[in-house]
């Protein structure tokens, strides 16, 4: 089961960590970094059903926000 409740004791710090990893990178470098991170984290989870649920959720939210023009 994909867990979507808050799992970090300090969510702001976790978000910061990801954002800061991208500081100073070109879009191309950022995309490459994200690709490596996705693979590492997906393997850490190690559960294809969870991965699948995460992809579904991410795609659904993405298409919602695009159709609403936000």
């Amino acid at each position: 089961m994909l867990s979507t409740q808050s799992n970090f004791t300090d969510p702001d710090a976790a978000y910061r960590l990801i954002v800061e990893a991208h500081r100073g990178l070109s879009d191309e470098q950022s995309a490459a970094l994200d690709a490596a991170l996705v693979l590492l984290l997906a393997n850490h989870i190690g559960d294809a059903d969870v991965l699948h649920a995460a992809i579904e959720l991410a795609k659904r939210r993405l298409s919602d926000s695009q159709t609403k023009g936000t």
Binding site: A31, A32, A35, A36, V38, L39, L40, N43
Partner: protein
Amino acid sequence: MRHPVVIVGAGPVGLSLAIDLAQRGQRVVLLDDADRIGDGSRAICFSKRSLELWDRLGVAGRMIDKGVVWKVGKIFSGPELLYQFDLLPEDGHKMPAFINLQQYYAESYLVDRVLQLPDIDLRWRNKVVALAQRNDHAELTIDTPDGNYTLRADYVVACDGARSGLRGMVGADFSGETFEDQFLIADVKMTAAFPTERWFWFDPPFHGGQSALLHKQPDDVWRIDLQLGPDADAALERLPENVRPRIARMLGHDDFEFEWISVYKFQCRRMQRFLHERVIFAGDAAHQVSPFGARGANSGLEDAENLAWKLAMILRGDAPAGLLASYEIERGLAADDNIRASTRSTNFIAPHSRQERRLRQAVLALAKEADFAKRMVNGGRLSVPSVYASPLSTVDADAWRTGPEPGAHMLDAPLQTASGEPVYLTEAFSAAGRGFVLLESANGAAVNVPDNVAHLRIGADAPLRDDAGLFAKRYDAAPGSAYLLRPDGYVAARFRHPAPQAIEAAMARASGRA
């Protein structure tokens, strides 16, 4: 005159099927539109399972003597070795993991074997140009240099390759995916000291941004594949003067000759149904894959071994015609497996989009220190036979820790005869006859088996001994346990304590009578 079986196409699949049928006592007419076997750069890697089939057909010895035996593959990223794999890490198998052998050698040894079998009527320069389905047979119109004639057959097996004309004649589709990338395939003659390993590169220094493959064949010929990308001009790339500098960059010298050069675009596709009334499709005619993984000819040969015994039993009246449905189920699932595996490899080698390429590059970069990423690196997953989810299999009623499950193919093991002569299990299986075989771990008195089942008994005081204990290990065998093998060497059922009625019931199921 009505023929029981006419096979169209004398490629590796049609030839092997004809031999298997003839060895089962079946008369066969084998037609091919060419005047001899094919040439050019086609299959080179033949799998252990294919060799086991060919051993039963009496041709594996020549293939192995001529072929280059190998089992190790190496994957490079840029100039660095990422990892290596060993396809047969254990001993005690008669056949090697793989051999490399030019397809034309394989075909010519098969033709030699065909010519030894009076039950096969091989007719070159016989091109099937029309086909009509009748109630209980099919009628073929055949074009020859001396004019046309017709042949009637109970069953026609279409082994006429990826461009199959028979597919169109039965009105069947052939759909799937065509990959945009083009690949240069060069067979190059040179003396070189590279080891007999499969070497695959992502982004090598000599061919930036693309993939490359180097693999040894007999006669000092080397197979070289170079990815060219989607935009290459095939007509220009094929010219020897353009190929030469590419290969020289790879090898670091110019001291080689070309045997053959071609540029391919690869496809993965299959027919929805392999059975069309009296016409049965097998090999590339039924399904086509990209060559990464060597799944083309090898899977076609598995089609042939799957079909031969079923057709022979039906034609002898020992099984209902409905047994053929299991051919379509089993080999259809295998085709899906092979298409899935070779599509994944091709997509990894030739990513579709920029982001797909970034993900692929991330895998390659992480693979240097992360095991999980190493296992995602996909330069071709080499052909292994599928395990059939099949209506012919009897579901296990007992507990097994290991061993081939129902629907899986038998595993080889080194045995001894009672007088101490070494014999492999696969050899004993072939020698036992051409039908079903009960493989029993002897425990006192032999179990009763039906008349039409051959019996192999293995144990200290039995006709076959397992001195090394590898049979017991590979089959999770305990005294008294038994495997019922189909005539193609796949497991139909297994029992801890075989009872005659249970064997009988499993036989009926595996013969399409249940």
